[in-house]
Symmetry: C2
Subunit: 199 residues, 2 copies
């Protein structure tokens, strides 16, 4: 699959380095770029460079931002004494969409996963501890994913935080809204039963 | 789905303009770029600009190249009196992979498709006619796709070329090698029967 055209091969190889983009798709995308006006390629290139250069981690919550503090950390109307701890910046967006959470976030950028060689030192746990010791925090909500690694990370952090006298909570497990009991797995159903509320 | 981060939104929108890339995939790709070292984004941007700037149509066969003449047109060992007419530069590559064709190509960049508003004037037919009148061509192989539009384009061009006393041929229809007769459609099978050869 060689076009003998160096710039084309280079563009195809750049596209195929992206996750989920195979050789064939990369070719299709590269041909699409060639068919577009030159200014579109220019704009795409600028978007790549600008995004990579201007976006960095918020110095407080470690989420992505192009400012010093992200919009959430910088918002004085939010409750800065409740921190929701999530795995990735995408999770922040998921919570923001609910419009139900008025606290702030802390992004770990991963979860503890010994099999992948990711230990606590690779996550933004130090930064979380620094926040807990200097800010006035009353509650930490552990909102890692409901997986084995997510659970392990949540309990690791809760062991560190509890001695500081800060309340640590975990998202509720249960049946998803609009779900069907018939298709719920037994673990989810058992947790839903365990966490039942009086109505 | 708004991150409130202008450079990130811009990168996501650039990715989602590519064919077959939806909003979710565009987000995933943009986050991947942010996780990579800055020099990778820089290289990607350069590849985009270089490909778009340096690649243009070969002035002879209208295929893609970064030179004045593409490597095939510029190769004196090839038979320049036989032209294989194809729809797109990808088709040139498909023939080159067979290693069976030693002639040269002409890329139409599309096919006649009245429903999409594409007439003969939108294709590189003028350029083909110019080659036929000044070069010494003995045969034109019509290698458009075996679709209604491909057929129509082939017969349109053959009507233009035949009066010039140049032989016009069409790719053979038949059962694909390694195919299964049981799954061949009736039109293909009828054509295979019609074009049967003595063994």
């Amino acid at each position: 699959m060689d076009y003998n055209i160096v710039p084309l091969n280079e563009l195809i190889s750049q596209f195929s380095r992206l996750p989920g983009i195979g050789k064939k798709t990369a070719q299709r995308l590269a041909f699409n770029i060639l068919q577009q006006p030159e200014e579109n390629a220019q704009k795409f290139a600028e978007a790549l460079i600008n995004a990579r250069k201007q976006i960095h981690l918020c110095k407080c919550c470690q989420s992505l931002t192009d400012r010093e503090l992200c919009l959430i950390c910088d918002d004085s109307r939010r409750n800065h004494s409740v921190i929701c701890v999530v795995e990735s910046p995408k999770d922040v967006l998921a919570f923001e969409r609910t419009k139900e959470f008025n606290g702030v976030y802390h992004v770990l950028h991963g979860i503890i996963s010994p099999l992948d060689g990711i230990g606590p030192e690779h996550l933004k746990i130090k930064e979380l501890m620094a926040r807990l010791s200097c800010e006035n925090i009353t509650e930490i909500i552990m909102a890692t994913n409901p997986t084995v690694e997510g659970e392990a990370t949540a309990s690791y952090i809760s062991r560190l935080v509890k001695p500081m006298g800060i309340k640590v909570t975990r998202l509720a497990y249960g049946i998803p809204v609009g779900g069907d009991l018939e298709y719920a797995d037994e673990y989810t159903l058992a947790r839903a039963l365990e966490g039942r509320n009086e109505i």
